[in-house]
């Protein structure tokens, strides 16, 4: 094991806790991030030479405290912000005699505050994602940039802007309560799911880091679920991600071409993740009589996970959950999925009726999805000429080469005798 790899491993474990702790004392997430980073650089310098300290958490906190004091000494105590900082540092000083106890105290609350602050709705989603991966995932700017296929300067800029916005808007370092909590939690879940999907769409890409975003999102989801055991949507999101991730190995062929859910070899699904997802879903369902959007999506994913073969899928339940989802979080994509599920459960004519109602939907213009679904339902109804026209139209609209080839093949398929 190289010293650097060991330091990175320790850092990954300690960084979120260190940042959370510093943010509480300094009352400034941006400053906490910078000072934590300083401490990491110092560890990179010292540990390869001196060895990893017996208690790395205490070492890092001590170094961070000294760095914070250095900074304070270099600043004039003129504004309220700096006076606040001084109070925070005095508290930190008092906490240090029993540093190990101080480290554990309230760390869960601090971590939760850190997540809520990094994902504050005052920030655009991409800034929230970058800051969250930085503060809670321990990822470097370069790693985040590679994962998001963005220039490093752009990601660095996002993080700087996010920190500045939080500072300028004087966003308090706290866990929201009451009515605000629900909205703020939704902002957190949105970021975690955005990170997951960013990784999920990167099918078999050349860069493992990109697909690894799913792993980061799962880790964040698990952390969040552990910190908020009573929040059905946090539990629901984790179950949803675990159920989706369980199909990772089965969703592409050897050439990297996508395999549709119903055509996948289910023996390649990840049983550990399915079991975790189903257990989490069951627990989450006991928390609320009215499942929210993530929980409903997890319930849909679970219907697929429970079916030993594609033919065993409970499409009636899936259609019902999509109907509930259409009410909880209306969107044309949900409605289109409902058309597919209803088509499978009650026959293509009923599915087509729902899909046809979406033809004037402006948010589906320019997308191949509606034509693909209509083509599929028309084909099942034996209306081959119309089905082919839909597949041709879909092929023109899709931006994905593999998908286009698949659609054109269906458009040119001879009608069955």
């Amino acid at each position: 094991m190289t010293a650097v790899a060991v330091i990175e491993a320790v850092w990954r474990i300690e960084q979120p806790k260190l940042a959370a702790r510093l943010a509480r004392y300094l009352r400034d997430v941006g400053l906490a991030e910078e000072i934590a980073q300083d401490a990491f650089l110092q560890a990179m310098e010292r540990w390869p030479r001196d060895g990893v300290p017996r208690n790395p958490a205490a070492w890092l906190t001590q170094v961070a405290k000294n760095r914070a004091l250095d900074r304070l000494r270099r600043t004039t105590l003129i504004d309220a912000k700096h006076r606040e900082l001084a109070v925070g540092l005095a508290e930190l000083e008092r906490a240090t005699p029993d540093i190990e106890a101080a480290l554990d105290e309230n760390i869960d609350d601090d971590l939760l505050r850190l997540i809520f602050t990094a994902c504050h709705p005052v920030l655009p989603a991409e800034q929230r994602a970058a800051l969250t991966l930085r503060l809670l995932g321990g990822l470097s700017t370069a790693e985040i940039a590679r994962a998001f296929l963005a220039p490093e300067a752009t990601v660095a800029q996002r993080i700087v802007r996010a920190k500045r916005t939080l500072r300028d808007a004087a966003i308090p370092f706290e866990t929201p309560r009451g009515k605000e909590r629900r909205e703020r939690l939704a902002a957190v879940l949105e970021v975690v799911y955005l990170i997951f999907n960013e990784g999920y769409v990167a099918t078999a890409g050349p860069d493992w880091l990109r697909a690894d975003l799913c792993g980061e999102a799962l880790r964040l989801g698990r952390l969040l679920a552990a910190l908020t055991p009573q929040e059905p949507e946090a539990q629901g999101l984790l179950a949803l991600m675990e159920l989706h991730a369980s199909r990772f190995a089965a969703r592409t062929d050897k050439a990297g071409a996508p395999i549709l859910l119903l055509d996948q070899d289910r023996s390649r699904w990840d049983w550990t993740l399915i079991r975790r997802g189903l257990d989490g879903l069951n627990r989450a369902m006991t928390l609320t009589p009215t499942p929210g959007p993530y929980l409903l999506q997890a319930m849909i994913a679970a219907c697929h996970a429970r079916a030993s073969t594609a033919a065993d899928t409970d499409w009636i339940a899936i259609a019902a959950y999509y109907q509930a989802l259409a009410l909880a979080a209306p969107s044309p994509i949900v409605e289109l999925n409902r058309a597919v599920a209803v088509g499978m459960a009650f026959g293509p004519a009923q599915g087509l009726a729902i899909a046809d109602a979406l033809r004037g939907e402006s948010r589906l213009q320019g997308s191949h999805l509606l034509s693909t679904v209509r083509g599929d339902l028309l084909e099942k109804l034996g209306q081959f000429a119309q089905a082919r026209a839909e597949f041709r139209h879909a092929a023109e609209l899709t931006g994905n080469e593999r998908e286009r080839a698949l659609l054109l093949a269906r458009a040119n398929a001879p009608a069955p005798a």
């Binding site: 094991m1 790899a5 060991v6 990175e8 491993a9 320790v10 990954r12 474990i13 979120p16 869960d108 971590l111 690894d212 792993g215 799962l218 880790r219 964040l220 989801g221 698990r222 952390l223 552990a226 910190l227 190995a249 050897k254 070899d265 289910r266 023996s267 390649r268 699904w269 049983w271 550990t272 399915i274 079991r275 975790r276 189903l278 996970a305 429970r306 079916a307 030993s308």
Partner: protein, 135 residues
Amino acid sequence: MRFMMLMIPGGYQSAAPDAMPSPEAVQAMMKYNEELKKAGVLLALDGLHPPASGARVSFKGGKPTVTDGPFPEVKEVLGGYWMIEVRSREEAVEWARRCPASETDVIEVRRVHEMSEFPEDVQKAAEGLSKPQGQ
């Protein structure tokens, strides 16, 4: 990357069938498990009864022979495991280092095989093999 941390408790090969850890040891271990959970790395964990109430099935000469526990002649036996999902082998080892284990315990850190690592003919052989589905 998925790893198993395999706990090999000292002397467990000859522990009494009803041997139980002390409340203090359990408390320390619970705290450790919570830490793993709150770091978002824990997938599963289990503790095993002492081998005294177990059995070993060996296959000498190509046929199964059953021996009931305990197995005092076996040097190391498993006492339980954690399955974790981490980014590197170093991270898995770092978690093992943090375990509140006793002086005679050993934790073996092993990576879990993924199907994609196997050669094509092995993958082919496993294809369609039904795993338990649903609950």
